[in-house]
């Protein structure tokens, strides 16, 4: 590295959202050819900090310098002009435009016209240099999620970014795609590009970064060179301030099959799914996100109808099911999109607590709501599950993610379900909330409920499941007892690799 002037320097950055202080007097620097890992719990302020560098948010205080010179970044256009590129946690692409149109949007063009020729040339250049290619004419809506993210990365490189910010890039990638990304990052390093790498996957962070910066509650709490001495546990302590509590699974006797799926097809062309979950058993569904997990859960829960197959609960077939019929049959479903699908953010906690039940006794009689009963029920749940703040009248959207999840868990468990489907139960939660949810799942398991646990987080799957099944391309490709499963084997299956399923 010839020149050691930082490509990007953030000094004293503070950013508030209403009452929340997302960044508190943050200093951050990135040098040429350096990969910096940015770590922190959910809500620590990582994305906010980088959004500020990219001109999406305005800081309330602090300054930015690019290549040593003070820079004013008032918009993303300013950031791009200064050679900063960002790939967001959720890709932002135009589904109905072609790859090429997506790449060229926002570029100046030539003689006031869109310059296709130059764009194609640049695309080929990027493919050659970093191994990142895409068919320019494809409609972006047809791309797989990993390809969309590649498009985002190419788009940043297209603009000759010297600073590349990657916000949780691998959460939607297969391990192969992750490998591809890593080799691209290495190629970028040698070109002198600086990379900010935000991730919760500590193994990846340790593998690819030169330095890690850890944030907690909006402030930087550690800045350490990745000299090979970092450990996952050490990083976790830096992030949360303590060693996370771990709920462990104790083996116990399971009952008869409570949930049986036979010949379930999620789409016309997909393979059938056969799966049984016994009472008191947790079956973990592992898989790279985007492999049909959401559709799988929704099909069982009656939210969408599967293309084919039967679903049995306690031996009874529930056909042509709707969410209501599945609830009546004893199934509870906690979707991954909590605020989008599980709650009505503008309604008070008390209404949300009975969202699927307010039409019937004890919360309504002959169509008349019993507000008193609803309030009493909500108060009890708030106390039992320690939901904060303890105010049943508060619109639930104002609660933090962890407390929203507690509320949904409280609501669904109150139904005393025979079968529970829970998707990404701890996504976006901090350690105490995670421990709470895990404890509740174990309690339910002990009570004999059949639980289908869908998670991207392999650690969580291994920690809680009695059996592990892998979902790949909208089908279950293998299922085995947790004792027989290995992380490597499951990882291979998640990529479509063959697994010799032990008996």
């Amino acid at each position: 590295m010839a020149d050691d002037t930082p490509l990007l320097t953030l000094t004293g950055i503070t950013k508030r959202f209403g009452e929340v202080v997302a960044n508190r007097d943050v200093d951050f620097a990135l040098r040429p050819g350096e990969v910096v890992g940015l770590l922190g719990e959910n809500g620590a302020g990582k994305t906010t900090l980088m959004n500020i560098a990219f001109g999406l948010y305005r800081p309330d205080a602090g300054t930015i310098a690019v290549a040593g010179r003070p820079a004013v970044i008032g918009s993303t256009a300013d950031a791009i002009a200064l050679g900063i590129g960002m790939v967001h946690q959720h890709t932002h692409v135009v589904a109905r435009h072609s790859v090429l149109e997506n790449l060229m949007a926002g570029l100046a063009g030539r003689y006031g016209l869109i310059d296709h020729t130059a764009a194609l040339a640049r695309l080929a250049e990027i493919a050659a240099a970093y191994g990142l290619g895409l068919d320019p004419d494809r409609l972006v809506g047809d791309l797989a999620i990993g390809e969309k993210q590649r498009l985002d990365i190419i788009r940043a490189l297209f603009r000759k970014a010297r600073v590349l910010i990657l916000d949780e890039p691998t959460s939607v990638l297969t391990p192969q795609e992750t490998e591809g990304l890593f080799s691209a990052i290495k190629a970028l390093k040698t070109d002198g590009v600086g990379v900010v790498y935000i991730s919760h996957k500590l193994n990846e962070v340790r593998a690819i970064t030169d330095r890690v910066v850890v944030m907690r509650r909006g402030a930087v709490v550690a800045d350490a060179v990745n000299d090979g001495t970092l450990t996952n546990a050490g990083l976790a302590v830096l992030m949360c301030g303590h060693e996370p509590e771990r709920i462990t699974r104790t083996p116990h006797q399971t009952g008869a099959a409570r949930l049986e799926l036979a010949g379930l097809r999620l789409g016309r062309g997909t393979r059938p799914i056969d799966l049984k979950v016994q009472g008191g058993e947790i079956v973990g569904i592992a898989g790279v996100s985007g492999n049909g997990q959401v559709r799988f859960a929704e099909a069982i829960a009656g939210v969408t109808s599967p293309a084919a197959g039967t679903i049995r609960i306690d031996g009874k077939a529930v056909n042509a099911a709707s969410p209501r019929r599945m609830q009546e049959a004893g199934l509870a479903y906690i979707p991954e999109d909590r605020l989008g699908a599980g709650l009505v953010g503008t309604l008070p906690v008390s209404d949300n607590m009975v969202l699927s039940r307010f039409g019937a006794s004890p919360f309504a009689h002959f169509g008349w709501l019993d507000r008193k009963a609803m309030a009493a029920f909500a108060e009890r749940q708030i106390t039992d599950y320690d939901i904060r703040p303890p105010d049943a009248k508060l619109p639930i959207g104002l609660l933090s993610g962890g407390n929203q999840q507690k509320a949904i868990v409280a609501r669904e468990l109150a139904l005393k379900p025979k079968v529970l489907i829970i998707a990404q139960p701890t996504r976006g939660l901090d350690v105490t909330a995670i421990a709470f949810v895990h404890r509740e799942l174990m309690r339910l398991r002990a009570e004999g409920c059949a639980i289908l646990l869908i998670s991207d987080d392999l650690d969580e799957i291994f920690q809680l499941s009695d059996r592990i099944a892998v979902m790949y391309e909208s089908a279950i490709v293998c299922a085995m007892a947790v004792e027989q499963a290995t992380v490597a084997g499951i990882g291979l299956a998640m990529n479509g690799g063959a697994v010799e399923a032990p008996a």
Binding site: G342, L347, A364
Partner: protein, 357 residues
């Protein structure tokens, strides 16, 4: 420079005061127009207030004028609860009026049943018309803003065809329907005024809808569907059915407004029976901030603007069209105020200029 909205902490009094602030703002704008027209705004407002509210005649007339607005306001509100933009209140009102006029002129209906038949028929007609965009939206996902708007024009022209064809007034030959029977005229419950059954129906509707929205599980279901249809579906609510019910209810309410105009004030259908009551219903619903009880003051406010502006215009020479301007301005003012109650506007100077200075 960049303008951003920042959420404010929630505040009860701000929410309560907001509509008044909005109305005050629109009156200030209106006052400006009056000054431009060369009149004294204070005097003009005094005349308006007097013409709308001073004395038995003024008050009862304003209330009677508000009755159809209450009903179309409720119609807009009920549909909006499920996030259905029923711009079709106007057409639903017209079919309601036509149904009421048709039934009210029939000799073969027993006299005691005439008025009830008109009310029920109008409600059904309005609901039936609303069913078209309702079904299109819930079954085929056809955007209701366009479909309801188009249906208004279609209904209006069909009504014109009816009025200048089969329903042409046999006596005058003009485009107005035959008169309804004497017995079909809505009873007036305060002699010497025009407080007719339609006004009572409007008040009952407010109470009824208020109760449905607040106290029944259907009301809560509508709200859940409107606020988050995905969550509603996950919770086992039949989103399509609930939306459709709300839309039918909405159409029925607008149809009732038509019945009131036929049975209580016009006694026949004429081409210009509605001065845009259906569209004004949306204004009413927004002014009322989607609360059923709020519909009454909102409708009375709009009615008072019309009744007041008319007299004010005659006395001061300010063009009468100011009434239309005030309605539109007050709608915009309320919308803006609703936003400002929840957000604060921050003007951030451009960082470039900041850096340069």
């Amino acid at each position: 420079m960049r303008i951003t909205l920042e959420p404010r902490p929630p505040s009860r009094w701000r929410e309560v005061l907001m509509p008044f602030a909005a109305i005050a703002a629109s009156l200030v704008l209106c006052g400006l127009l009056i000054v431009i027209a060369g009149a004294n705004p204070f005097q003009a407002f005094a005349i308006m207030g007097e013409a709308a509210f001073a004395g038995k005649f003024a008050i009862t007339e304003t209330v009677a004028r508000a009755a159809p607005l209450v009903l179309t306001g409720l119609a807009a509100l009920v549909a909006l609860r499920t996030r259905f933009w029923n711009i079709g209140g106007e057409g639903q009102l017209l079919v309601g009026a036509m149904a009421a006029a048709w039934l009210g002129a029939r000799e073969d209906i027993p006299v005691p049943l005439l008025v009830p038949a008109m009310l029920v028929g109008a409600a059904l007609a309005g609901a039936a018309l609303a069913a078209i965009p309702g079904l299109l939206k819930t079954r085929l996902k056809v955007d209701e803003v366009v479909s309801t708007l188009m249906l208004n024009f279609i209904v209006m022209y069909l009504m014109m065809a009816l009025l200048s064809g089969p329903w042409k007034d046999p006596v005058t030959g003009w485009t107005d329907s035959p008169d309804i029977l004497m017995d079909a005229e809505f009873p007036v419950f305060w002699a010497g005024t025009r407080l007719h059954l339609g006004v009572l129906v409007a008040v009952i509707a407010v109470i009824g809808i208020g109760i449905v929205l607040k106290r029944t599980s259907f009301g809560l279901a509508m709200k859940v569907v409107g606020e988050n249809p995905k969550a509603a579906h996950h919770a086992g609510l039949d989103v399509g059915r609930i939306t459709l019910f709300a839309v039918l209810l909405s159409g029925a309410l607008a149809g009732l407004a038509g019945a009131g105009e036929v049975g209580g004030t016009q006694f026949q259908v004429i081409a210009s029976i509605s001065p845009g009551f259906g569209y004004a219903g949306l204004v009413v619903a927004m002014l009322a901030r989607l609360s059923a009880v709020g519909v009454i003051p909102a409708a009375v406010f709009l009615a008072a603007i019309t009744t007041g502006a008319d007299e004010m215009s005659r006395q001061t020479g300010v063009p009468f069209f100011i009434a239309d301007a005030v309605q539109g301005l007050s709608l915009i003012a309320v919308l803006v105020a609703m936003t400002l109650a929840r957000y604060r506007i921050r003007w951030r100077p451009s960082p470039k200029r900041e850096a340069a200075s």
